[in-house]
Each structure stands twice: as C-alpha cells, then as structure tokens.
C-alpha cells in the first residue's frame, strides 16, 4: 500500500508546507496583511538558494542568503505598499507575485527560464549529506521546529501583541502609540524570511527548480490551509498542512490523467476556499487564547 519511502516523502512535503503556512500566518493571520503574492517569497528564496548552491555555496549559507534575500525584497515591496488599504494591498501584492514569476520565467540567464535549473546539489551540514529522504525529513523537521519556535515566541511577545492589535484595529493601535508601519514592515520581512527557509529546503529536496512551482495557486492553497487551521494559529496551520498535503497526494494517487487531475485540484481548492470563507471565516480552529502566561508571571514575582 503505502511504502515507508512514500510516507517519508509526503511528510517532507507536509513539513515544507507547514513552514510556508506558518510564514503566511505571520503576515496574514497575525497581522492582517493581505499578502496575496506570498508564493513569490517562496520562489525568491528557492531561486536564491538554487543559484548559490549551483555556484558552490554550502547549504547553510545558501539558506541564510535565501532568508536575507527574501527579507530584503519584502522590505522593498513593503516600503510603498504597506501604506495602502487592505484591498489595494492585496491587489498590489498579487501583481508583484506575478511580476516575480515573470522574472523567473524571462530572466533566462539567471534562472534558467521556463526550463529551470537542474542538478542542484544535496544539502550537507557538518559533513553529513542529506541524500536519503529519511535524513532529509530529519533536517526539515529541525527547520520546522526552529521556525515554529520563532513564530510562537514572537506571537506571545509584546511584539506579537502589537501585530495582533494591528489586525484588529490599526487606527486604535496607532492611538495607543504604536508606529504601525514599522511593525507591519517587520511582520512582512519575517514572513518572507521564513518562506525563504522553505524555499531553500525545497530546492535541496527536489534538486530542481522551475517557475511553475510558484504560482498564485500556491498562495491560495496556503491561504486555505491557514484559514482552516485558524488564522494566527500556528499549530493549526501545521495540522492543516499535513491534512491537505495528504489529501492532495491522495488525489494524485487515484491516477487521473494530469489534464483532468490538475484542474480538478484547482476546482476543489476553489470550492473549499469558497465554503470556508463563507461558512467559517475565522477558521475552523480559532486562535488559542493567551491567558495564564501573563497573570502567572505576575503571581510568580
């Protein structure tokens, strides 16, 4: 039935999607920034890692570079767009996502154009090379744990508190003395950086990259995941990622020809998005209340 290798493969994909959904959560779920071009960050991280790795850069360095590159691009994008109202921000980021994809497709000398880049070296760390899927799974889970810890740590910090207040009511947050622009910028940059981690992992797993992996479909798939998992709920995002990857791969397994399979996936995604948005817009699993920590602290003093 399901071989161990297949299971490991699915888990790797699920872990990568988990990292991506946590990253989207940081911008959309926690801060309320409608970044509809998130797939572009995934792509920028992936291409950065791929290009550097093909040029001989060690794994840890190309991941770091991917994160920095994503952060930088996020800052550049954020500069003009974060002043825009919700709808406009959504459209602007959507457009930027498409422009990014156009760059991936057309800047052939750098990105390999539509043919992409192949033969990306395996990841290796401290002399250990992650060739086998099992080993790679270990590596990705480690990355997921770090990303998760950072996301949750920030969420439960005063910084995260401000982000949530921006999501709830930006004007009120401003009236409480918070420079919301600065905070939104950081949220976007961190969100992008995390996507960069996922991008770097992705190319070292698949050892190949092309522009078709970074479409709007991915962004909305991630959006569905965090909506089902509960906006702002990182654990929910991970669970939902696992669930959806399982379902998606399961669909593929049924063996429909791609001409039907691909649009069918798109159809299901659309229907699910529609249903979730209309019936349960706050997500199926709401955010966990932040309670005892604070008051416990006071009692502890």
């Amino acid at each position: 039935m399901l071989s161990l290798l297949m299971l490991q493969h699915l888990l790797v994909i699920a872990v990568i999607y988990s990292i991506l959904s946590i990253s989207l959560n940081m911008a959309v779920g926690v801060t309320g920034l409608f970044n509809m071009g998130h797939a572009a960050f995934f792509g920028i991280g992936a291409y950065t890692a791929a290009i550097l790795s093909l040029a001989g850069t060690p794994f840890w360095l190309d991941m770091l570079a991917a994160v920095c590159m994503c952060g930088l691009v996020a800052a550049l994008i954020g500069l003009p767009t974060l002043r825009l109202v919700a709808d406009y921000l959504a459209v602007a980021t959507m457009g930027l996502g498409e422009i990014a994809r156009a760059v991936f497709k057309n800047w052939t000398s750098l990105t390999g154009g539509t043919m992409g880049l192949r033969g990306i070296p395996q990841a290796s760390l401290f002399g250990l090379t992650f060739i086998s899927t099992a080993r790679f799974l270990g590596l990705s889970v480690a990355c997921l744990l770090v990303v998760y810890a950072v996301a949750e740590g920030l969420l439960h910090s005063p910084f995260g508190r401000v982000l949530k207040s921006i999501r709830e009511d930006e004007i009120a947050a401003q009236s409480c003395g918070k420079d919301t622009y600065w905070f939104k910028m950081w949220a976007l940059v961190i969100s992008a950086g995390m996507a960069g981690v996922a991008g770097s992992l992705y190319v070292h797993y698949i050892n190949f990259i092309d522009p078709t992996s970074f479409t709007m479909w991915i962004t909305f798939f991630l959006l569905l995941i965090i909506m089902v998992g509960g906006l702002g709920n990182n654990l929910g995002a991970v669970l939902a990622s696992v669930m959806f990857v399982a379902v998606r791969e399961g669909l593929r397994f049924i063996g429909l020809p791609t001409s039907i399979g691909a649009p069918l996936q798109q159809l299901i995604l659309g229907v699910l998005l529609l249903l979730v948005t209309i019936l349960a817009p706050q997500g199926l699993i709401p955010e966990r209340k932040i309670i005892a920590r604070q008051t416990d602290h006071a009692k502890g003093q």
Binding site: V162, C176, K178, D179, W186, I290, T295, Q301
Partner: protein
Amino acid sequence: MLKVSNLTKNFGGLLAVDHCSFEVQENSITGLIGPNGSGKTTVFNLVMGLLEPTAGQVFFRDKLAVGLKPYQVTQLGIARTFQLVRVFQKMTVMENLLLAPRDQRGENVLLGLFRPSLVRTQESDSVKKALQLLELLGLSGVGDEYAGNLGYAEQKLVELARALMSSPQLILLDEPAAGIDPILIHGILEYIRKLRDERGMTFLVVEHNMQVVMNLCEWIVVLNHGQKIAEGTPQQVSNDPKVIDAYLGS
C-alpha cells in the same frame, strides 16, 4: 497643559473647525461641547494627529505638537478614547491593557523573541499595573475575557483603562457616556473624578449629554459651526445667551 491656537480645518470647502482657540488647564476636567456638527470630534482628531490642520497650532506643555502622526502624539503623553468604542475585540482585556504602555522593550523583534530579564520585568510590572487598574475601575475578574465579549459599558471602561496604561498626562474622552445605561454613567463619572483627584490626570471631554457635562466638568468650551462661541464654568456657560441660542437654533 493643552493649548489650541487658531486651529482650522477645511474639508474642501466645508469649514469644520474655524480659528478655534482654547486652553486646557492642568489637572482639570474640561468639557468641549456644541450642537451636532460643531466640530468637536474634528478638534479631537486634529489634536490626535488623525487629521492634518489647514491652519493653526496645537501646543502640549508649551511644545508644538502639530503635524504629528497619531502614534507620536500618544508617545508625547496624550491618550484618547473613541466615540464608538475601539477595543481590540479578539484579544483579551489583559492583552488590550498590556498593549498600551509606552517604551516597551519587548516590542523590539529580537528582544521580544528572546525575552531578557529587562523585558520580563517590564511585562510583570505592566501586569501588576493592569490588575490594579482593573480593580480601580471595577473590572477585576474579566482580565482573561475576550474584550469583544464584554458589554458595551464594560468595553468603554476597558478602553479607559487602556488609555490610562500609557501613563498619559492628558486624556481626551470622546463621548464617554454615549450608549451607556444612565445607571452606569454615574459610576464612570466617579472613576473619572477619582483619577483626576488621586492621580492628577487632566481630562478633555467631548460630550452630548448635558447633565454629564454640567456635573463633571469644571470648565467648558462651547463650539458652534467650528468656532468657539463661549467658554467658562458650567454656571456661566449655561446662562450664556449665545450658547442657548446655538442649541435652540440647531
């Protein structure tokens, strides 16, 4: 404490505030009243930086405070509440309050993530202060409720508490009695007076409810059509023919 000088706001032809000048004394509860559309909330918005004045200045503690962004105004020491209460609905009451103090080191990304002892100390101090305020305002026990689940009057008190958490010197209250059961209004007024007496706060209150104003404020500024038409004690203002005219005529 607050001096508004020749403040003017022109909305493309509509003169909402017209060369308005008045002062708010330290440790006072000053009222800003006027018939509908007289420009009271616009004055608030101008002081708080939500709108840019067409002309005129605002001085806070003798320092120029015009053309600032809202967060900068708050950082100077002015807090405000809103006419239609704006608490953060899906955050707990405690989170609402803990948001407000200024200069929180934990709002820095790295410091927030790693939470060194400095941050933790600030947090627990804020928690203590928040709990005290909740008790002062009769809200102990709701700290861990989502602010959106509270009744309207309680939400208004939460907003007031949140404003206080930033240790402001001046608080702008935008219609604190609006939408509140008359029975509960008395309680809110008590708190405001307590805060003025025990903590030396200064209040500028916009209010429609005449009883509240006359009861609460010791000095009143009256606006009509964006201009100041009268100023004085409740006695003086309620007997001023210009004021009576403005309200009857509107």
